[in-house]
Symmetry: C2
Subunit: 243 residues, 2 copies
């Protein structure tokens, strides 16, 4: 790559750990990611049905960290809201619903411009992490609506599986395990790597550097290879240069 | 409805119960469903990657019940194979992959004709049950490929969630429960009923009559209503007349 892309991404597996508050487990990483220069964060709540309630929850959290929060669903001109944004947070919910609304409102190219050209920070959680990647092909959600494509914002050239879940050895349920589902994806030709982010984990991307943060190991699936485990602090920069 | 549709469907939640053989839990229902007149069953293995191995497994099972099995992937003309079929069995795997291949090979209208006009028996398991319904919107699978639509064969005007799973009260995992996923579907406008078929359960449809068979209760989700539990033997015919 001839020049570094000025992208800044904080891609979180999940919004809430069992028994903890909303975004509590990634508070420290959020502070350091958004830093002292950001004043207002644009929140994208489209993955959930009750957008008012969702914006209230997110606003309380961001205000407690010292940031103002504007929810895009309260704006009369969502495209303009993205154009003016100085930071974006996309919350979790249903990934198909989220991606379809981003397409319907013509927000995909606008968010790409802000993040890849202007270099504003993008934080995603769960579905908001799925849509930041090359496609939503490794979402855990049901296809409750039909977006025009599975292709997503493409800030990274691989897939993430948020809420990555290890097989339950005591289970008698016969549905595919998460790992089996990802291996089925890799049976398809030319499929990119999949990073399984367990709850409590997140990926920080700064330009051409990617680092695993948080409390848990991540599981990496490369097509045709045995999956591997990676500790917090692991350098995943090599995933950014795969085509 | 002015005249009964001659449809005959056996829609099974899953192919294999924990610790049991392939299709063992529904053997009795298969015998009575295919009966003494069917000689050959056309198998559709597209939901799995290794179609040869899949056909071998299915063939052994059907032969043990006294039926010959032809796998459509061994035919040089899949459309013609459907046109000549006297019974169809669609196996499980990845629902998106299955539906995409059915579209790609132009099999959707042909299968519909055989089942809805000629009245041949259609058995589906897991993904094969999903594609028999109005759409694949309540599949549990990952969107590893992108079919041209979520609309499926539409033999029944509602959705089925196969491998329906009750919430694990001891779990600390924060991903949506199956019930939460289905309720998110029903947040969307004009969404049809969803029948949650637990493993070991199946729905038998004969014309305008639908009956729950198998070992387990089913959970029925009607948009805007509290979900309800139904014992094996329950009459679900009312679901066939909802639009
Ligand atoms: Ca979700
Ligand atoms: Ca499946």
């Amino acid at each position: 790559m001839a020049f570094p892309i000025p992208r800044r991404l904080l891609l979180v597996s999940n919004s809430r750990l069992h028994g903890e508050g909303y975004l509590a487990h990634c508070e420290e990483q959020m502070r350091s990611f958004f830093g002292g220069k950001v004043n207002r964060v644009l929140f994208i709540p489209y993955a959930l049905h009750d957008q008012d309630a969702y914006a209230k929850t997110a606003r309380e959290k961001f205000e407690s960290l010292g940031y103002e929060l504007d929810s895009i669903h309260e704006s009369s001109d969502p495209v303009e809201a993205v154009r003016k944004s100085e930071a974006i947070f996309v919350g979790g919910g249903n990934t198909f619903r989220l991606l379809k609304i981003l397409y319907d409102l013509n927000l995909i190219p606008e968010i790409r411009k802000r993040v890849l050209h202007a270099g504003i920070p993008y934080m995603g959680s769960s579905a908001g992490t799925n849509v930041a990647t090359i496609s939503i092909s490794t979402t855990n959600d049901m296809p409750i609506v039909f977006p025009p494509s599975l292709e997503a914002l493409g800030f990274v050239p691989f897939n993430i599986n948020p809420h990555y879940l290890d097989p339950d050895v005591n289970s008698t349920h016969m549905g595919e395990t998460r790992e089996e589902r990802i291996l089925q994806y890799h049976e398809e030709p030319d499929t990119p790597p999949v990073l399984g982010l367990r709850e409590g984990s997140m990926l920080l991307v700064e330009g051409n550097k990617a680092t695993l943060l948080g409390r848990n190991k991540a599981r990496l699936f490369l097509r045709g290879q045995t999956p591997t485990e990676h500790e917090p602090g692991a350098d995943f920069s090599f995933l950014l240069t795969s085509s």
